[in-house]
Every structure is written in C-alpha cells, then in structure tokens.
Symmetry: none
Subunit: 208 residues, 4 copies
Amino acid sequence: MSPKRSSGTRGPSGSRRRAELLAIAADLFARRGFQATTVRDIADAAGILSGSLYHHFDSKETMVDEILRDFLDSQRRAQERVLADSGDARDRIAGLVRQSFRTVHRHRAAVVILQNESNHLATSDRFAYLRAAAGDFERTWTRVLQEGQRAGVLRADLNVKLAYRFIRDAVWTSVHWYNPRGRLTLTAVAEQYVTILCDGIAVAETKR
Amino acid sequence: MSPKRSSGTRGPSGSRRRAELLAIAADLFARRGFQATTVRDIADAAGILSGSLYHHFDSKETMVDEILRDFLDSQRRAQERVLADSGDARDRIAGLVRQSFRTVHRHRAAVVILQNESNHLATSDRFAYLRAAAGDFERTWTRVLQEGQRAGVLRADLNVKLAYRFIRDAVWTSVHWYNPRGRLTLTAVAEQYVTILCDGIAVAETKR
Amino acid sequence: MSPKRSSGTRGPSGSRRRAELLAIAADLFARRGFQATTVRDIADAAGILSGSLYHHFDSKETMVDEILRDFLDSQRRAQERVLADSGDARDRIAGLVRQSFRTVHRHRAAVVILQNESNHLATSDRFAYLRAAAGDFERTWTRVLQEGQRAGVLRADLNVKLAYRFIRDAVWTSVHWYNPRGRLTLTAVAEQYVTILCDGIAVAETKR
Amino acid sequence: MSPKRSSGTRGPSGSRRRAELLAIAADLFARRGFQATTVRDIADAAGILSGSLYHHFDSKETMVDEILRDFLDSQRRAQERVLADSGDARDRIAGLVRQSFRTVHRHRAAVVILQNESNHLATSDRFAYLRAAAGDFERTWTRVLQEGQRAGVLRADLNVKLAYRFIRDAVWTSVHWYNPRGRLTLTAVAEQYVTILCDGIAVAETKR
DNA sequence: GATGAATGAGGATTCATTCAT
DNA sequence: AATGAATGAATCCTCATTCAT
C-alpha cells in the first residue's frame, strides 16, 4: 500500500516527504509538548488531513521515536569523532563541550523534546533506549573526566559524576534560550561556557 | 459550595486538605507531566472521586497555578533574605547558589513542573507571571554578578547574562537527578557546584 | 428535622424564608431557564450554601412545582371572580383580558417559566397538572366566546378555539417584553389589546 | 479533518449530511429544549456516535447557531419579497401575516427554539445577532403599520409598537400548537388571524 | 498519496443530592 | 438552620486511529 517503513527502497522523494513531516512534528512537539500536540496540529501544519499522516507513520509515537533516534545517533557519532582526536584532557573536554553545543543546536527540537518528555516517554518499553543512551553519554564523559583527573589536569576534589551533570545540564539547557538570530554566535557562547567551566567565574588569587 | 479560595486564616483543617491535595497533584504533575496527569489520577491518589476535587479547585489549571505561585513566592523571599546579608560578591553568589539548592529541592515537584511545562503554560495569559518571575530572577542575579565584576572579584571577560543562565540551568536541573536518599547530601552537591562555578574544574596553573 | 412540608404549623418566619427562596428561584428560572439554573445559583443568590437549600426543599423540581402551582391557583381564582360578575359577552371578555394582564404580570416569573419550560416539564407525570390546567383555561374561554357568539355579539365566522389561542398567546407573551417601569401602564396596554382584539386594527368602512 | 464550515458549493452529499444532522438537532432542541438535549441524544437519533458529530460541527452551540441563522435569513428574505409587491396597507399587513405563518411553520423547530431559548442564548455575544434581528423585524413592521395609519387605513388610536407585538406574539406562538396534520389548513388559520386582527372579534355596530 | 466519515475510549467539568457535624 | 466535604452520574468535547473511496 505505501511507505511507512520504506527503509530499503525509499526513493529520494518519498523519503523527503517523511523528513519534512518529521521536521514539522518535531517543531510542534518541542513548542507545545508531545501530548499537547495533536495529530491534527501536525497535519494542519503540513497542509494535509490528519488521517493522511497515517500513510507515512504508524502512529504519533513512531514520529517522536524517529525524531529522537535521529538525534541520539548524530550525537553519538559526533562524540566519537571528537574523542578520536587525541589531545590533553582539557582539550578533549573543551572539544566535547563545543561539539555538544553544535549538535544540540542543530537538533534543537529533538533536544527540547528529550528534556521535556523523556521522563514519561522513558517509562514505556519502546523508549527504554533513551535511558540506555543517557547512560552511554554519562559513561563517556565520566571516563574523560577521570582521565583528566589522573593526568593531574583536573582538580582532585572533583566529583566526576556531579561535574558531568553540571556540564550536561548547563550545555543542554541552553537550547531553551539560545537564539541563533541573536547577538551572540553559538561559538561565542560555547567558549564562555568552556572558560567558566574550566576556570570558574572567579578571578584567581592563585586558585585556592 | 465552599472553599475554592482558601483566603485568609482559614481553620487548619480546611486549608490542610487543600494543601494535601496540591502536594499530591504536584507530585503527579512532576512525574507524568501536567497534561498527561488526569484529574482522575489525582483524585485516585487522594482517595476521592474526580468530581470531588472540584469542591476544592476550579480546575486542573488552578492547581498548577497555585503550586507554581507558591514556589515562586518562596524563592523570591528566600533570595531577598540572602541578599539582605552583606558580604563580598563571592560570598553573595555562593549564598545564592546554596539557597537556590535548598529552595529548589524543597519544592522539587514545582521546579520540575516549571521546567517541563512553563514553555507552553506561559503562552496562556493566566501564566504570564511565569515570564515576569523569570525576568525578576535574571535581573537579581545579573546585578549581583555585575557588582562582583566591578569589585574585581569576578573575571572581567565574563558575560554576566550567560553566566547567569549557566548557573541557573546547572542548579535548577539538578532537581531531575538529585536523590535525597542517596549518598550525597544536598549541601555537598551545593558546595561542589559553588567550587566548580567559582574556580572551574581545571587545576590552576595560576589561572590564565 | 425541619420544615420541608411544614404545611400545618409553619410559623410566619419559617414560611417567609421558604417564600423568599421561591421568589429568588422563580426569578432565576425565568431569566436563565430551569435547567440552566443550578441549585448553587439559587443558593448563591440567597446567600447560603447549595446543600442548605435541601433543608427547605426536597429537590429543584419541588421548587418549580410550588412556583407553578401558586400561579395556576391565583389565575384560576381570579378568573372565577371575573366570571362571577355578569355583563354582556363583550364585557366579560374585556374583563378576562384585563384580569389576565394583571395576574400574568403579578406572576411574571411563573408565567415565563410556564411558557419556556412547560413543554418538557409536562412530559413528566409530576407535572401532568400543567396540561390539565391548560385545558381548564381553554374550556373557560371557549365557553365565554361561544356565549358571545350565540348572543350575536361576536362574529359568527369566528373559530372560537383559534380565537382563544390568539388571545392567550398575545396576552401571555406580553410578559416577555412588558416593562413595568416603562412609559406605558399595564392598564393602557390591556386597553389597547382589548380594542385591537374586539374591533381590529383596521378602520371600519362599516365592517364587512 | 474536514467539513465544519460547509462553505461554498460543496458537493450535495457533504452538505446533505450536515443538513440532515441539523434537522435532527433542531427537532430535538425544539422538543426537549437546547440544554436538555444532549449531544448523545442527537447522535443517537442520527445513528452515529456522539463524538462523530464533532466531525461536522464544532460544538452544540454551533448547531443552534446555524439553525437560527438559517431561519432568520429565510424570514428576512420572505418579508422582503412580500414588501416588494405594492398594495394598500391592509393588503401589505395581511400579506406579512400570511407570509409569517408560512415561514414560521416551515421552520417550526427553529421558531420554537427561538422562543424558548433566545432569552438566555442572547445573553452570550455569539448570539447578539438575535437581538439585532428582532429589532429589524420590529422596524419593518412598525414602518408598515405607520404607513397604514397615515393612509387612514388603520385606526389613529393604535400604538403601533404594541400592535406589532400583539401580532408577532399571536402569530409566532401558533407554532406551539398548530398541527399540520389536523383539521385546519395553515391558510385557514392565517385567514382567521388576519380577520381577527384587522376587524376584531366583535361584530361591528358600526365600529365605535 | 490523500479524503472524509466515522469510531471508541477517555478527559475535564458540572451538578443535584446526601450527610455528618 | 446551615456548613462543608463528598458522591456518582452525566455532559460536552477531544483525539488517535481506521477504512472505504
């Protein structure tokens, strides 16, 4: 009958429509929330009837699913690329922060959805992979932070798990307020964050 | 019928029931999301019928409204108390962070709701005060940070608005993962955060 | 426990409260409709809690019931008084019209309720007497009209049943628009109606 | 989804379904009252589920709205047609009465609804046009009556506003009792009413 | 690839009524 | 004579989803 899981033979155009619809859905999910966004909202925004969406997707859940998987894959791949380049711990951490900013803002909608909805999405089996992915990211980061500590580049009194959360929360949450058309470039924000993170907001007296 | 606006010095029991119900609702809103929580969920958790909730509250919206106002008032008052105590900028900032941790975790549910739902709640007029409150907090923090900069206690190259967001996001988001029954005390987390924030995660070589 | 059907011993004050409450209810039923008026609306208007109304009345239905019976009794008695006075058919009819105006406007609320709600109230057994009363009035009127016809005072080509309805509808409906605080006295309206009714709106050429 | 505003030259079937549903609803509203008629009653009568009604209409209110507008438009157009034909005042008035009978009985349900519910419907902004339409009809009628008076065809002592109400109430209310399957044709009733109205119920002695 | 009619389950809310106090 | 908490049934409406065309 139709595409739905046209994984194999999806002609470029069929795939394009899907992607368009997903982008529209992602945007609405991010702005109004997953539950609050009705299938009809999405259809309206796409200029079709709500029933017609089911030609492309099995369900509303399938849409978020695809949106979130897309983002998580991107993020994973990007992180691997950063970690492939060697460098000292400080460089690696700075690199991860910069890369997070880029990926996170390239998938704004997905990140907002992840933050707002993952709590109750993740209660369903279908989205168990969300918790898994969160665990993966945490392990990657804490490993890097521990290496930094062992190498004497990071403070010994640092609780790495806590530091990871501190970083992740600060960076990811920026998606809620960063305006790409505003004064600050994303890179500028990333640099400030790297600075604050590494050296603190205080002037060093010679650090205590 | 009767309560609905428990104004004044209502007898402890009338007011108590309201407060109980609000606590139950807040918990559910935080865990499942506002939209995803049905009035029946709340009533079930309270051991009454869903219709009976309307003896106490006009609507589900009224409940979040009250929950959020409660928190914002607490937070405002707590902040004022901290700022009343003098001290150098570093102490004031550390004080604000510690206090934020305390208030934020005393109103865990409210903060989670605020983070997850304020985006779409704030689109309605009824919740316009959410944006206003956010503005107030930002102004308070940036004022304190600027004073610190002028006093030469904070780095001159700091973008205070950005620093504020960095701090707020890191501190407030902790509510999603901090477990009061876990190994770390809240105070320990707060201290780590103050340290990271003020002095960074890196070892000072003598700060650049 | 309480009054409710305090028919026998109702002390003047207990009875007064009942009457007050009925007047309040009648007014609301007339303005908003029986169904649309909630028990709480009535209680609010009376300055008590909705549950407290049940100290006085068994149910909302009991209230309309009493309101309508009151009016129908008044009307019946008034009509009998008019018909007791003799006079020619024209005087009797004019008398009935004048009296109808008086009674109908003295019980404005009841009449409005009767017109707006009797259709579906009368479907219930409890209100079967509404249909009966309507039949009584019709019989009274048509008898008087027929006498007039036999006496040669009313046109022979008159369908008396139709004429009755014409009159009743015109007179009773006035309750919807007549404003006692307006320019026209009720008597003036009644006289115009008697004139139109008896002699028509047209100038006689010598009536056809 | 789709219809909701069956604007334009919609295919006969889409429009037909809407019209069918409206007829069913009008009938129920007239018989049981607007409030007393549940959306389920309508759906049951139409043989669909209550939710399915919302495929065609936004709300129960939208249904009455459409029913009433339909009638008012018909009535307006019919009146204009009558007034386009010249004739003396008596003919014009007789014409208006006859036409009113026809239109009013062609839209029985709408007229009953109008009479029973317009009072409280008209309190909402959405139905402000009901008051406006009432004003228009009154103006049309009083104009015609005044012309008749000036032309010496109608009595000089007639209060035209009152006469209008007398006529309207008598004619419109007939909808409550006239039975199209009864002995009298609608035309016969109309003629009786025209006669009573113009020449009164009394035999002329030579009119006073 | 889309329409349009409908389903069916559920959701927030209302409301007459009860009853212990 | 009244309160205040609660019931339980019903109401309007929403929405993801289906399916014949």
